[in-house]
Symmetry: C2
DNA sequence: CACCTAAATGTTGCCGACAACATAAGGGGC
DNA sequence: GCCCCTTATGTTGTCGGCAACATTTAGGTG
C-alpha cells in the first residue's frame, strides 16, 4: 500500500546464484575453473593476490612482498606487479589477513542512549578517530526500551574477532558487564573524567562547576537547586558531586538535588514536583535537555526565566543557543571524548603504551537564561 | 596534568607477546605444540572446533555437524560434543567462517550528521534490527567538518568483506558515491519515503503536510512561510514539495521557501533575514530544530508565538514537547526507517525477495506553538 | 552368517593472506 | 673456471571453519 520506504539499488552481478540456477554448492568452483575468474575490471568477485600474481606472471608471495613494502624486488618485476594490482583493482581481504595474523582492524563499540546528543557525538568522534587509524567500529546500540542485557550484545561482538572493545557509555550496568566478562582483547570504557575513577578532582570539579556557581553567585544567587542525571551514570554522579562541592565552597546553599534521567521531561517533572515555593533562585541542571524542561516548568509555575529564576545546563548542545531564552551552560567536548577513548584503545592494541593524556576543558557559555537574582 | 579521561581495564592475559619476550614470530607455535593450547576455561585464546573435537574425542567435522544442527549424530556422541562445547566456552570465529563461505555477518553503514537526532535514531533502529538478525553494523560516520569524501569511507569498508552496505543518510553526495561505485554486495539507501524515488506521492504528501496545513488553515492562517532543509537531502526536497503541494491544494499562499541546513541556527537566520514585515502568519519548518530557531527569531523580531505567528516542525524530537512554547509538529519514526532499511538489505542478502513494505505514518502532534491567526 | 545398504563419523582440501623455508639466478674471490 | 654467497623469487604450510569425499559401523535381508 504505502510506498516502499527504501530506495535500493542492488549493484553488480555478484550475489544471487551466479550462473547455474539449479543446484548450487554456492560458488564452489569445479576444479581448475578457478583460473577463469575475474580477469577484467568489474567482473565477478574481488581479485586476490593470486589473481594479481597470475596477471603479473609472478608468484603470489612476490605480490605480498610488494604490498608489504619489501625492498628487494627488481624494478621490472615491481612494475609488473604494480600494474596488475591496479588493473584488477585489488583490495586486500582483511578477513583473511586477520584470520592468519590474529589481529583484526575492527573495534567493537557498545553504546547506550545513542539518540541523545552526548553519546551520539561521542560515537562520531570515535568513528572518526578509528577511521583515521584504518579501523572501523562494530557498533551495537543498547536500546533503552528493550534491555536485553549488555551481555547478549557482548556475546554477539565476541564472535567477530575484534582488535578491542569500547564502551562508549559509562553506566554501572556497562561497567558491571565489562567486569564480569573476560575478553581476549583490550577494553576501554569511555567516560567523562571524574573524581572517583581518576582518584583526584576532575576538571569539572576544579573549574567547571566552580565557575558556573561563581557566575550565579556574582549575579546574587544564594540558594540553588540541582537536577541530576540518572545515578547509574558515572558522569551524572560526578556532575552532582561537582555541583555540591562548588556550592559548598562558595558557602552557598543547595536546596535539593532532584533526580532526572537526562530527558527534558524529567527536568520538567522535577521542577513541577517541587511542593510549595521553589525555594531557590537558580536551577543547575546536569544537562541541557533537563534545563530545557525545567525552564518550561518554571514558566508553568508562573516564574520567569531569568527574571525570577536562573537556569543552567551542561553540554552546550547546538540547540541550547536557541532555547527561549538561550541557555547558559557548560560546554563539553564529546567528540574529543570519543577520540580519546579510541586513542587509548589503539595504544593498548598496538604498543601497550597508554600515553593518551588529554586535556579536558569545560567552558562556561553565558547566555540569557541566567540573570540578576530577584 | 589533567586526569586521564579514560578508565580502562585491560582484560585477560591475551595480548602483549605471551611468553617469550625476545624474538616473536607472533604466536606461531612450534610444530605440534598446537595441541597444548587452551584446555581449561579462561586460558589463552578462544577454543576452536579442533579443541572441542579433541576434548570430545571426535573429529572436528562432527563438531561442525553438531553446530549446524545435523540430525544424524548418535545421542551419546551428541552429548559429548555438547559438553565439550560448554566446557571450552566455544565461540565460532565468524571471520574464518566468512572467509570460507564468502558471506559475513557484518553490514557496512555510512551515516552523515550522526549528531542530529534523526540520523542517530535511524542508526539506533538499524543496529537493533541488525542485532536481532545476528549482524553487527560497521559504522563509518561522515564528519561534516572534514569532508574527506564518502569514497574514502567506502574504500575502507570495501576491505572488510561485508554482507551488504547501508547508506543511512540520503543525500545527493551519498547517492552519487553509491552510483559511481560498484560493490559485490547488496546496497540499500535508507530514505524517507519520497515522491520521486517511489514514483508516487508519499504519505507526507498525501496526509502529513495536508493535515498540518489544514490544521493551520482551520486556525485562520492564509499566508505561509517554509524553512527547508538542505537541498542535497532528498528528505528536505520531499518535505518542501509536500509543503508546497499542500498549501496549493488548500488554495492558500506560500510567501517563500527559505533555505536552511537542519540546524536551529539556520532557522533563526532564515527568519531574521526576512526583510521588512514577515508577510506570513505561519512558519512551517522542515524539522524541529529549525522551528526552534525560528521561534527565537520571531521573538527577537517582537512577534509572539503563537499570538502573532504560528510555528510548526517535523520529526517530534523528544525536546519538542518542552520548547517554549511546546512545538506543534509532524511525528516521524526514524527508528522504524532504520529497521526497514536493514530488513530490506537482509532480504536482498538472504533471499533476493525485497518484500519489505512498511507502513509509514506521520502523525500530527498539536501543541502550543500554533494558535488562531491574528 | 555372509552381504548389502544406510547411518555415523573421519580425512582431505579450500577460502585469502602471510610466514617460514626452499630454490634459482647473479656477483665476487681465488 | 669452481665455489660460495648474496639477491630475487617460488613452494609449502597455517589460521578456523565448512564441504566434498572416504571410510567405518550398525542394521537388515536372504
Amino acid at each position: 500500500m504505502s510506498p516502499d520506504p527504501v530506495a535500493d539499488e542492488s549493484a553488480g552481478s555478484a550475489s544471487a546464484s551466479g550462473e547455474s540456477p539449479a543446484s548450487g554448492p554456492r560458488r564452489r568452483r569445479v576444479a581448475s575453473s578457478t583460473l577463469k575468474r575475474a580477469s577484467a575490471l568489474g567482473s565477478g568477485r574481488p581479485a586476490t593476490i593470486y589473481d594479481v600474481a597470475r596477471a603479473a606472471g609472478v608468484s603470489h608471495q612476490t605480490v605480498t612482498r610488494y604490498l608489504n613494502g619489501f625492498e628487494g624486488i627488481r624494478p621490472e618485476t615491481r612494475a609488473r606487479v604494480k600494474d596488475a594490482l591496479r588493473a584488477l583493482d585489488y583490495r586486500p581481504n582483511l578477513n583473511a589477513r586477520s584470520l592468519n595474523s590474529g589481529r583484526s582492524r575492527r573495534i567493537g563499540a557498545l553504546i547506550q542512549e545513542i539518540d541523545q546528543y552526548g553519546p551520539s557525538k561521542v560515537l562520531q568522534g570515535a568513528t572518526a578517530a578509528a577511521r583515521e587509524a584504518g579501523y572501523v567500529l562494530d557498533v551495537v546500540a543498547q536500546d533503552v526500551s528493550r534491555r536485553t542485557s549488555i551481555m547478549a550484545a557482548l556475546d554477539l561482538l565476541s564472535e567477530h574477532d575484534l582488535a578491542g572493545i569500547l564502551a562508549l557509555s559509562s553506566t554501572d550496568e556497562m561497567t558491571r558487564a565489562f567486569e564480569s566478562s573476560r575478553f581476549g582483547v583490550p577494553v576501554v570504557i569511555c567516560t567523562e573524567p571524574d573524581d572517583v575513577t581518576s582518584g583526584h578532582p576532575s576538571e569539572l570539579t576544579t573549574r567547571g562547576f566552580p565557575g558556573l556557581v561563581r557566575h550565579l553567585a556574582d549575579l546574587g544567587h544564594r540558594r540553588f537547586l540541582h537536577i541530576a542525571g540518572p545515578t547509574a551514570w558515572s558522569s551524572a554522579r560526578n556532575r552532582a558531586r561537582a555541583y555540591e562541592a562548588a556550592v559548598a565552597r562558595h558557602g552557598l546553599r543547595s536546596v535539593a538535588t532532584l533526580p532526572g534521567d537526562w530527558t527534558a521531561r524529567s527536568g520538567f517533572d522535577a521542577v513541577m514536583g517541587v511542593p510549595g515555593e521553589l525555594g531557590a533562585t537558580a536551577v543547575v541542571a546536569a544537562n541541557d535537555q533537563m534545563a530545557l524542561g525545567a525552564m518550561l516548568a518554571l514558566t508553568r509555575r508562573g516564574l520567569s526565566v531569568p527574571g525570577d529564576v536562573s537556569v543552567t545546563g551542561v553540554d552546550d548542545i547546538p540547540d541550547a543557543a536557541f532555547f527561549s531564552p538561550p541557555l547558559t551552560t557548560l560546554r563539553a567536548d564529546f567528540a574529543a571524548q570519543g577520540r580519546a577513548a579510541v586513542a587509548a584503545l589503539l595504544a593498548q592494541i598496538d604498543g601497550g603504551e597508554s600515553e593518551v593524556d588529554r586535556t579536558w576543558h569545560s567552558e562556561l557559555v553565558v547566555r540569557e537564561s541566567t540573570g540578576e537574582a530577584p
